[in-house]
């Protein structure tokens, strides 16, 4: 993820046996997916699948705990799929499906685990309890594992409804909220390991909890969890690259904003003895915004390429496009100020926090208040 992280001569040198096995497992998994589901993929889908293998391998090599997480989520998803055995009704009958690893149940578990993790991190922060913080960490790992399992199983379930309905579950507001929670959670866990501190969890998990709260409201009062088929404009392999790239951006910006809040508190002397020093928070904030900006740039360009194919124009100032542009401008300005002017301090933290408001509007607000081509999830 962080290409030149810590300036070690070559990250390849640190690749061990586990990494080799992990890569091998990824190749086998891709091969299995191809043999099992290749009939539902076009050449682009297959190319994306092939590209996912080295990408995940690279992440796993650079960030070791990711390997365990991915293996666990994949194993749970495969177990779920084998329990289904091609019959949707099994979701109501099989105990493990109904109460553990059918897609909705897994996502409910994810929601619950994120909430408890938030509590654990806060207890850890306030009571200076190492144990509580470790618990928070473990719960966050479990939450992202369950959430990833949920999405993978949902993907399979959509094909059980009908092969013409089946699609990757990142197509509407409900599904991307799950994705957002997962990606933000994973990014946080990466920084937690990289900076060897669990003190930022209390703040970052707050924004994830807010997303999960929205997700639950959306489920219980709007029945948004029901799998819907794709309208023609969305039936494209571009979705598989455009949406995840976008949510790495959104997730990283959200994380940066929460670190910004912590940073501001530390600078005011609140919780200063418990949180990491402002210098560390500042560094995390910069790293998150940098990665968010890089991926948001890619996502916007991929979106433009897709728009050119689906709507005939790579850019037509649709409200979602325009707000993506505004978000991009905002963080471009942030990076300019920091990198070129070398500015540090509360102003950048404030800016990162306000950046989340702009990002949230681009993410949810546009769907709520403005109409346009991107209205895939209305409220």
């Amino acid at each position: 993820m962080d290409i030149a992280h810590s300036g070690t001569p070559s990250p390849l040198r640190r690749i061990g046996l586990g990494d080799g096995l992990f890569a091998l497992a990824l190749v086998c998994a891709a091969g299995f997916a191809l043999s099992q589901y290749g009939a539902f993929m076009d050449i682009y889908d297959k190319a994306i699948l092939a590209a996912v293998v080295p990408s995940l391998a690279a992440i796993g090599w650079a960030w070791k705990p990711f390997r365990g997480f991915l293996v666990a989520a994949a194993a749970l998803a495969l177990l779920s799929i084998s329990l289904y055995g091609g019959d949707l009704a099994r979701a109501e009958q099989a105990f493990f499906l109904k109460y553990l690893i059918s897609s909705q149940t897994a996502i409910m578990w994810m929601s619950a685990l994120f909430f408890i993790a938030t509590g654990a991190y806060w207890i850890g922060l306030i009571a200076r309890s190492d144990f509580a913080e470790k618990t928070g960490s473990a719960l966050t790992w479990s939450a992202v594992t369950m959430g990833t399992t949920g999405l993978l199983v949902r993907w399979y379930e959509s094909y059980l409804i009908g092969t013409d309905v089946g699609h990757i579950p990142i197509s509407n507001l409900y599904e991307v909220f799950v994705l957002f929670s997962l990606i933000t959670g994973l990014l946080y866990l990466y920084y937690e390991g990289h900076y060897a501190t669990r003190r930022m969890g209390a703040f970052v998990l707050l924004v994830i909890s807010a997303a999960v709260a929205f997700l639950l409201w959306y489920t219980f009062s709007r029945e948004a969890q029901e799998i819907q088929p794709l309208i023609p404009a969305l039936q494209s392999y571009w979705m598989k690259v455009h949406v995840p790239a976008n949510f790495i951006g959104y997730g990283a910006f959200a994380l940066a904003a929460m670190i910004g809040v912590a940073d501001l508190l530390v600078r005011k002397g609140i919780l200063a003895s418990r949180l990491p020093p402002a210098e560390v928070l500042d560094d995390v904030m910069y790293k998150a915004i940098a990665i968010g900006f890089a991926f948001f740039t890619i996502a916007t360009i991929l979106g433009a390429l897709w728009a050119a194919e689906a709507w005939g124009t790579y850019w037509q100032w649709d409200p979602k496009e325009t707000w993506a542009f505004i978000v991009w401008l905002n963080y471009a300005a942030w990076l300019h100020i920091r990198l070129t002017k070398g500015l540090r301090g509360p102003m950048l933290a404030w800016w990162a926090v306000i950046g989340l408001v702009v990002t949230a509007f681009a993410f949810v607000g546009v769907n709520m208040f403005l109409s346009g081509l991107h209205s895939y999830g209305s409220l």
């Binding site: 810590s6 059918s102 379930e157 029901e226 819907q228 088929p229 309208i231 560094d283 124009t313 403005l370």
Partner: protein
Amino acid sequence: MRQRSTSRAFYELISSMRFAISLLTILGIASIIGTVLKQNEPYNNYLNQFGPYWFPLFEELGLYAVYNSAWFLVILAFLVLSTTACIVRQTQPMLKDMRSFREHAKEASLAAFLHHERLHTALPTDNAAQKIQAYLAANGFQSRAGAREDGVLLAAKQGSWTRVGYFLAHSAIVLICIGGLLDGNLPLKMQMALGGKTTTSGNQLISDIKPESRLGLDNWSFRGNVFIPEGKSSNVAILNVKDGILLQDLPFTVSLRKFHLEHYSTGMPKRFASDILITDKATGKSVEKTIEVNKPFEFDGIMMYQASFEDGGSRLHLLGHDLRTGGKTPFQTDATVGEAIKLKQDGLDYTLELGSFRPFNIENMANDEPAAETSKMATLEKHLGSGARSVSKKDLRNVGPSFEYKLRDSAGQAREYQNYMLPIEQDGAWYMLAGMRDTPAAPFRFMRIPMDQDGKPDSWFMIHSQLLDKSRHAEIANRFVATALGPDAGETVRERLRETTRKTLELFAIGGFESLGKFIESTVPAAERDKAADVFVKILEGSTWEAWKLARSAAGQPPLELDQKLGRLLRDSLNATSDSLHYGAPVYLQLASFEEVRATVLQVTRSPGKPVVYFGSLLLVLGVFAMLYIRERRLFVLIKHNGDALVALSANRKSMDVEETFQRHRKAIAALLDPATTPPAQS
């Protein structure tokens, strides 16, 4: 001299960071306007929204097409200018800096680095320098040795490519803006301003459009729509410009063989596809192709996309039921969607404007049952399991075709109607739904014409015609009185009821229940109104039954036995008759049969800027990653003949890991320089 300094100051300003940041901010805020106000709507909508005072002002400000307005383009131009100036200003020193090793740096300046440390070495200078150079090379540094009087300075650098990232990312912005400009509507504006092209109104035949509103084949940048009904062809595209249109000639002819429209069982659209045949005008060569959403096709340098679809002139066979009294037989007429015909029948004088036709309508027919009190656990459990399960009950059904039309009377007043072809079940009985509204903004109000025991609306037309016909009222009243009172009742009672019935029917024939209601309000004391209303309804229901019997015997149909089902039919008939008095038209049009014709709308574009924008995007990604993730590090190792040494590290950016990196290199270098005194560093 003064002028020179002014232009110099201007250059300084626009290439400054402050100016760039201000521009980004202004651009962001300006962009918001276009997301709040819907862009490129028909001008009439804006006029309605803002009124005659604000409308022209907002038009002048270009608010209806913000992103094409002159002021927005000026801001973009400034962004290009500022970025270009920035590149020009930075490139020279940046390249110089990239190439330079600074191997002649002064010791004092090295000692002023944030990350530096003094070391010692027992080795001869040359030997030490060799070892360090090998170390630097092994760690990915390029280095150069600068010999000096008192020793040697090894100057090393890595990650200089981050500077190239700056150049790539900023040139990308310029490229993307230029490409976007080529594909925007600036070329069109130029042609209108310089080439004397003017827009024209869209309500005319293509052959009538004059050359000044036609764009030739040499136009290298355009975006327009081609409308082709099934079985027809087209060789022009229509460009919507402000409140008019321009015609773009195409170098080929496109024929639509068939338009495919598929739906999921939920009624959601699944696939739009056009089977087309393209024939090149110059060569006569033709290609068959299916264009779908997400699967465009390029021909002669013109991209074609599936943009939307419309009705291509479906032909409807209609049955006109005269709602006036007198028992007229239904008349037949044919109409085409999108066209207007005259309805002149027995004194009717209307224009029928057939607006649209839908071959099917998917509706959720599930009853909204009041939610039973469920525990929280039960609610949670409902949301567990697969994402395929729907929690609320659904009963999706195709309720059949529908069509919308306007009826315009001789005075030019029009009302809108929406009728369904097939009867629809509601509360256990079947009805033909006939919708009407006075204004386009209002929802349709539906008259429910009940289906009779034979599953036809005919009985209602019979009843309706009898009930509202004043000449029949005396007869109906007589029969009703005979049935209601039986043979024993006295003549005065009979006469009174007969009179009341006649009065009731007369009132009802004017405005239905509404007239009766008004009558009751004005004549009956409040306390007795409910009772009175009951009496009137009973009279009406009885009369309806008599009216129906009368009509049936007149038509030579066998008598019927009144049962619960027919009772409901009677009440429904009465309701529909009352509603028909507010239907606004003396005729109900029933859809007897149809022949659907679809039309596709293809977007055709020539966008010369696309490759430029795509290339710019590639540079942008490379540039951003290079700038953010290639780290520039400069490591200096000064080795003096007297055994003193100095190691210093600089980075282009301050960040936490610089110190970490410095410590690692310092330890390694110290170990190399003086292996005896320093424990070997782990690396």
